[in-house]
Amino acid sequence: MSQSIVSSPIPARAGIGLRLPHQALVAATRPAAAWFEVHPENYMADAAALAELEQLRAHYPLSLHAVGLSLGSAAGVDAGHVARLRALTQRLAPGLVSDHLSWSQANGHYLPDLLPLPYTAEALDIVCRNVAQVQEALGRQLLIENPSTYLCYAAATLSEAEFVAALVRRTGCGVLLDINNIFVSACNQRRDARSVLDHWCQTLDRHSVGELHLAGHALVATSGGEQLRIDDHGDRVCAEVWSLYENAVAHFGILPTLLEWDTRLPDFAVLQDEARHAQQRLNAHAHTAAERDPVERDPAERGPGARAHAGYA
């Protein structure tokens, strides 16, 4: 039962975001997958799905990727939700736990979106307080993901990368770097995505990054006829994002990488195929790195996830 489950570190391989429509198939067939990541909120009011996931957990490393902590809320995090997440982490013993640099609670209500923060000193204080509170409650490190953005605030005094780097320094949290989100945000702000990634690389402690995310997105027209990229996780990873990913792996090293797909969910085999594409790039980098530096340490030991069980401070 749950007491016997030991936390398995997430391998530095390409995993798959497991969604409820695929779960029964995965439970029945146990397909090849290096690891799975799920949204814990989907299991907090679904005992049947949780029981099935608990069985899967015995066969695959598992990561919990939350969407509801609202780490950027000025009103603070919801203690009840933190308690529910804590109960799940104790039951499922995930290798990684993460959420987003965003907010979704205000006026006493929950808004199901990852709403953007102004990158200011005030917001940094608030996010640091909230992240520290959650890490304390969970007794482990959180990874914080950069969201896709469609808004920039006039009040911002820090870049997103500077904000995240400061957050890492002050709380000991790790970083879940979403490469698709970097691309979507950069394009929507009419900036060069490679330059934005370079800024992330220069700003972050490379060892603070514990996981990478990849996904597809949609291209739509605004009411003014301009192009807008929507992070809908509804397509294959585009060529530009694969290129950015190769650059990110070259800088941050071989890290657990997750393929996300949420809307217009295809057959599970398509997700496996996308994961294979990511794994090929990880393998290529490993080969190159081995030729260049044969004593480079085991990439599975890299990243903050590896020290998640030894304390986050």
Binding site: A74, L111, P112, D113, T120
Partner: protein, 290 residues
């Protein structure tokens, strides 16, 4: 006293210097607003390459779409009956009236059945509220773990016989034939739907979660009273007495003709049901539920 986002200093200052609490309160209100004026935030708040209103539109679509999708999962028959566009209108208006307070959206929306039943434009579907209530029950049970061990309520029928019910077993009562309605709607079977006598009459259903999914079994009035009493903690004698209560004149309820009728109904609908296991004091197990 601490200033609130709406009354604090931030409300009077330039948008670019609003405290975070003010910004979040204003943005949340703008995202949920139904009227165009309420959706606006000052453009001075934003500095991106695109107008702030465009970004707000993306977030509004995401928020409202997520509300609709969450309710769609819990009320599939309602959505199929009224159509996607009408369902989205109901869902968004419901979310504006009763937004969730926590992120696990599967647990939100219990009041949607009443809301949908009174929503303008649904007057021609008098059974919509009851269908929605049944959808919600179905969804609630689907999210439970199946009980194969009959680990629910136990009822001592007499000194030697005990009924063991499956955990989570419930009696659902409705004034419309919701099982037939839901089956026809989800099957897109217009002919079957048209053939259903949807006049108001009392219907009772036993519902439980098995490993194969959510199970339903129609119950007569006496069996429903018996089972409801049993699940409510009554003794065997009390449950039997509840089953034998005569129907008051004028009530829309099946009236048992005699104690023999009630006994036959209980035998047929309770003792042989798949949601019950019968044990005797010598540990023998009998009955259809095993």
């Amino acid at each position: 006293m601490q200033a609130t986002p709406e009354t604090g200093a931030g409300a009077c200052t330039s948008p670019a210097s609003w405290p975070l609490a003010t910004l979040q309160a204003r943005m949340a209100t703008a995202l949920m607003a139904g009227d165009e004026a309420g959706r606006q935030l000052p453009e001075a708040l934003f500095a991106g390459a695109l107008p702030g209103s465009e970004g707000l539109r993306v977030h509004r679509n995401t928020v409202l779409g997520a509300f609709s999708n969450a309710l769609r999962l819990g009320y599939p028959a309602v959505e199929r009956l009224v159509g996607e566009a009408f369902f989205d209108r109901m869902a968004v208006e419901f979310a504006r009236a009763q937004p969730p307070v926590a992120p696990q959206l599967a647990a939100w929306g219990a009041a949607f059945a009443d809301y949908a039943g009174h929503f303008p434009g649904t007057e021609m579907l008098p059974y919509l509220r009851e269908l929605a209530r049944f959808d919600a029950r179905f969804d609630e049970l689907a999210r439970r773990v199946a009980d194969e061990q009959f680990a629910g309520v136990e009822l001592a029928v007499d000194a030697s016989v005990t009924l063991c019910f499956t955990a989570g077993l419930l009696v659902h009562s409705s004034s419309y034939p919701v099982v037939a309605l839901r089956d026809a709607v989800l099957a897109d079977d217009a002919a079957a739907l048209a053939a259903i006598d949807a006049t108001a009459a009392e219907h009772h259903i036993a519902m439980w979660r098995a490993s194969a999914g959510v199970m339903v079994q129609p119950l007569g009035s006496a069996a429903a009273r018996y089972l409801r009493a049993a699940l409510g903690g009554a003794t065997g004698e009390q449950a039997l007495a509840a089953a034998l209560i005569a129907t008051a004149p004028g009530q829309l309820e099946y009236a048992p003709g005699s104690e023999a009728d009630v006994a036959a109904q209980l035998q047929r609908e309770i003792l042989r049901a798949r949601f019950v296991r019968i044990t005797t004091n010598d540990n023998a197990v009998t009955g259809a539920g095993q």
